[in-house]
Symmetry: C2
Subunit: 373 residues, 2 copies
């Protein structure tokens, strides 16, 4: 497939130059420091560890493909669970470290580390299992699932299983101090700009005021419209959570996820709360397939939690200024997520919201644009 | 010249893909926030402002080329100083803002903003002046001077002048607490790694110890071998400064700066000091040319200063652990700087040093490698 990252021709999809993709995306994964961060995420590690070792029947004597093996951890566990052969594909030079790790754990007879893009490599056989940890912030940031779909369509046997098998995006209305902070940062930035324009006119004879509007838009985008990583506390969630998108990893296509369009609603559960924005997160499940299910179903969730935080955190979409809401108020949300034209691994989100107070009164709807960078 | 950034074929030079260059380098310059940072640097602004307005004879009725115009400030000043025509070339979409700024300052009759790489654009005439603010950290980081050389060879009249006309790289031995901090950070990182290896073996049955050496190298490079931005106080400079490289902007070629090889020495001026590393900075001068000099020579220096700090700061090269030195000790330094294979805009430095104590005793020489990232 050459250097094409997306199998579909059309809207928002185009062949991505490999080197550009590396400069923009892959390079972070070639650092051991970054791999260690993910390997130190106990929730993530426990979920995959349990998914594999509680379901050895899927691995024993089987052929496995690990898409984006990184350090090789999933490939190593698959081999330890009894796989006959594991193909561990990794696009970056991290593959050298994965190979060393496989060898020092005496699994080189089973695990073959292959450096390359899954879209380009050739395997000697189709596989029984495709395992991959492909999830980015809010599930789809990084668009790595495209590569998993490509791997599945090329290399999974008709009877094969996906690990994980299902994935869901979630949202909930939240309260947070971040809105006020960022609003304040934005105001300070604009005050500072004002002073700068004044000084530049005074000292250097150049009138910069024509740039005030674009500067304001750039700062607004940066401070208020770019979703933020955060570790939300459950008591920040002020309403019922809703599923934004439900993905069956066995059957999903790239066109299913190119444009994520969804309508859902939330019921406010906190009395006299401030709606400051929305939190977004995901979960994945390891269920196997209907004809060949797991013995032990495992869930990996990144929902706000006191005890179980992950390196993914949640993504926060701010709606300053806060809106007063009450228990029983209903939020009708229309959600649209597409890929950024400049970088298909980043997202643009349009969030429309209409609030119906529990009295029945309908507030004016609003629509905000966000960037997942 | 197509997409080639370097005019010379051979060592460390190869055609750089434009999109990769944008993802790696140019993109930061398309943000107004970044332009504002540079426009708020009073030392930088004053130097260029004075260089132009104290030397109007070089601009009045002349044709000027501004290489990498950014917001357009130098082009605007050139026009205000009486230029007949100014070509303001900018590779990023910042050119749209430059065009708006030119118009709102009523200079659209004189200043023509051209979006594109200076290597690719065609001008209707050769110019009398090439003005550019191309200097990166430690002068040559970003390798933008290559583009200025290209512009000069293509578009400067045989009698034309360069603004600035000269540039120098400087180094001096310094004392700093940064070495201890970074050494401490490195030690903590390795302790943390140790714990991680132990936990991963205990909980997940995988032995990560084969990665300890590469992890240590990666962390060492990050904490101890990557030069750091710092604003040095003059009293941190413990010996005489030395010129590393002297550039005549009218005659320099890319091959002159591909490999910066130099030998120089420092005399320790502080009694009983700790040599913690070296500081690197630069200065540029606006002198015009021998046959057509400036009326008022202007200097822009980024040397450690109490009153005159710049956004460039200085670059600090650490040598932990600190070495005790005394007034009168001599440091003989061999310096080699080449471009990074992966990214020609970043540098690799080899710094060899031999200390002769004022008693005459020669200490064992050492050689360290650094990365300017």
């Amino acid at each position: 497939m050459g250097s094409s990252r997306n199998g579909v021709v059309g809207d928002r999809t185009a062949a991505v130059d490999k080197e550009v993709d590396f400069a923009n995306y892959f390079c972070t994964y070639s650092f051991l420091y970054h791999q260690k961060e993910m390997l130190s995420d106990r929730v993530r590690m426990d979920a995959y560890f349990n998914a594999i070792f509680e379901n050895k029947h899927h691995f024993q004597g089987k052929a496995v493909l690990d898409v984006g093996t990184g350090s090789g951890i999933l490939a190593i566990w698959s081999a330890q669970a009894g796989a006959r052969k594991v193909y561990a594909v990794e696009a970056t030079k991290m593959s050298d470290h994965a190979r060393a790790l496989v060898k020092s754990n005496n699994l080189q007879g089973v695990v073959e580390v292959i450096e390359g893009s899954i879209e380009d490599v050739t395997l000697p056989e189709k596989v029984d299992v495709i395992i991959s940890e492909w999830m980015g912030y809010f599930l789809l940031r990084e668009s790595m699932f495209d590569s998993v779909i490509c791997a599945r369509d090329r290399w999974l046997k008709p009877t094969g299983v996906m690990y994980p098998s299902h994935a869901r995006m979630w949202m909930a209305p939240i309260r947070t101090g971040l809105g006020d902070h960022k609003m304040n940062d934005f105001d300070l930035a604009m005050d500072d700009w004002s002073y700068f324009v004044d000084q530049t006119k005074t000292h250097y004879g150049v009138d910069m005021s024509v740039l005030t509007k674009p500067y304001s838009e750039e700062q607004r985008k940066y401070y208020l419209q770019t979703s933020m990583w955060n570790n939300l506390h459950p008591h920040q969630v002020i309403g019922t959570a809703a599923i934004v998108k439900d993905i069956d990893c066995l059957t999903a296509s790239v066109s299913d996820i190119l444009k994520v369009r969804s309508k859902f609603s939330h019921s406010i559960t906190m009395e006299n709360a401030k709606l400051c924005g929305f939190g977004g997160w995901f979960d994945v499940h390891f269920r196997g397939r209907t004809e060949d299910p797991v013995q032990k179903e495992v869930e990996l969730t990144t929902a706000p939690s006191i005890d179980y935080t992950t390196h993914w955190g949640q993504q926060v979409f701010l709606l300053p200024p806060p809106i007063r809401v009450s228990q029983g108020d209903d939020l009708s949300v229309s959600f649209l997520m597409i890929r950024s034209k400049e970088n298909h691994r980043l997202m643009e989100v349009e969030l429309g919201c209409e609030i119906q107070q529990h009295s029945g009164k309908l507030l004016a709807p609003f629509k905000n644009k966000f960037y997942i960078e």
